[in-house]
Amino acid sequence: MKWFISHDTIKSPFLKALENDSGEIMSHCYQCGKCSAGCPIAFQMDYLPNQIIRMVQLGLEKQVLSSRTIWLCASCLACTVRCPRKIDIAEIMDYLRRRAYRKGIAPQGEIGIPLFNKIFLKNIELFGRLFEMGLIGMFNLLSGEFFKDMSLAPKMFLKQKIGIFPNRVKNIKEVREIFNKSGKFGRTRRGKLLYPKLIFLNLLRKLIEKIEKPR
């Protein structure tokens, strides 16, 4: 892919903000590619981890934040521990995801992962502990894969590995306060699950796919 990189792009505040907030110095990377070589999910990414780092160095904010790579990172930390320049690549991926959330950017066709994280946290905010049934139900509903993993449910019930009712903590107010205050101090917008427009478009796309498939 070819990009025109202007002087403004290279001098954009993006790189500086990233270095400030994550504490990593991006110019340390000399593009050896070790992060990409060890990445278990590289085979699914649109840009390899080292390419993302290069794009960050060049200040290509828009391209980086709308890439699928940042969401496909599983935070397994293989890159971080192997980097010969001691750059915490997983932390940079985290920073990029947080920035993408703040700016309301999500890659087309990869909306499931950003959605999942938000639903997971909403779940914790409501119950204090993870309520798997709620998480799976809500995720399936909003991602448009209504019957995903349904065949596994009976087995899980029989083995008593998943509960129908949430296991709520006693002092739920305390948990909500932590969420509220973290949002305030971290200057993050909370409340909204994700951008309703994106969820709706995604559902529509899934629906069209389902209709077109039998033909």
Binding site: P40, F43, A74, V81, L121, L130, K159, I178
Partner: protein, 289 residues
């Protein structure tokens, strides 16, 4: 030995058998585990992806609850919880700016004084393998196991301070002590796809299939794990892997606590060995004979 016990969400649902077997083993060895009252979720991966401060405040809240129990050591079993608690502790100890913010969020002063230990670490390094070997009733000899550590148990090494980064051996040592033969295999710390289990199941199937294949090729009869997410990906999704990649894997995925429990003569049902999707009982009965 007395510990504040932080089970975490998985151990109360999808990994119930991990909780059961941990309690049984601790009980049998005289390690006291007191569950932290009204503990909350540590936030796991979604928290540090979305809000950095939240990912520190949630674990710190739990550590504060442990501190108020007058217990300065927390024992945990879940690799993700262990990792998050440790990272939060490190931040609270060394990063003054973050400490101030997090203290304001949780409304209490905390400087990282509570220690966090994984139950594997407690068994091997605190209780000691020599002491354990004296307690073993039936050695599980003849069983070949691949010890699978996963990502978060050993990484990042300067924070978890548990084991070797690329070639961990704590679980292998433990298995040798109870008579199990650990196989040599290169996938000890590979990633299983973790929380993509729901969002990108295709990735999890591919990564987990590779892990199962490698364990099978090296002659392992079971895979021993220390993380509830690894277990559920390898066990629950094994049928789907067989279907997708036309394989015939029947590899039970067991927690290290379950095998230790068996060697201590604890009843299989009490260890939750009937709760696995891939039934391990046939294999274990054969070994017992």
């Amino acid at each position: 030995m007395k510990y504040a016990y932080y089970p975490g969400c998985s151990l109360h649902s999808t990994a119930k058998e991990y909780d059961m077997s941990t309690r049984e083993v601790a009980n049998a060895l005289g390690i006291e585990l007191l569950e932290i009252p009204d503990w909350i979720c540590c936030g796991a991966t979604p928290a540090h992806i979305t809000m950095h401060l939240l990912s520190l405040a949630l674990p710190v809240k739990n550590l504060l609850k442990a501190r108020s129990m007058n217990s300065y050591e927390v024992a945990t079993c879940c690799a993700a919880c262990f990792n998050r608690l440790k990272i939060a502790n490190e931040f609270m100890e060394k990063n003054i700016e973050h400490r101030g913010k997090v203290n304001k969020i949780v409304g209490q002063e905390y400087k990282g004084e509570v220690k966090v230990r994984h139950f594997l670490d407690i068994l091997v390094n605190v209780f000691g393998l020599k002491n354990l070997s004296e307690r073993v009733v039936d050695k599980l000899s003849g069983l070949k196991a691949a010890c699978y550590y996963g990502c978060l148990l050993t990484r990042p090494p300067e924070i978890t301070q548990l084991d070797d980064l690329e070639e961990p051996h704590l679980m292998d040592d433990l298995m040798k002590t109870i008579g199990v033969e650990p196989v040599y295999w290169p996938y000890k710390t590979e990633c299983c796809g973790a929380s993509f289990s729901l969002t990108r199941t295709d990735i999890v199937l591919k990564l987990s299939a590779d892990i199962l294949q490698m364990a099978y090729d090296e002659g392992a009869q079971v895979i021993v794990v220390a993380c509830p997410l690894c277990q559920s990906n390898l066990d629950l999704r094994q049928a789907a892997i067989n279907r997708k990649y036309k394989k015939d894997f029947q590899i039970p995925i067991l927690y290290f606590t379950q095998l230790v429990g068996l060697s201590l003569g604890i009843d299989a049902k009490k260890l939750g060995l009937n709760k696995h999707i891939v039934n391990p009982m046939k294999l274990l009965d054969k070994i017992a004979k």
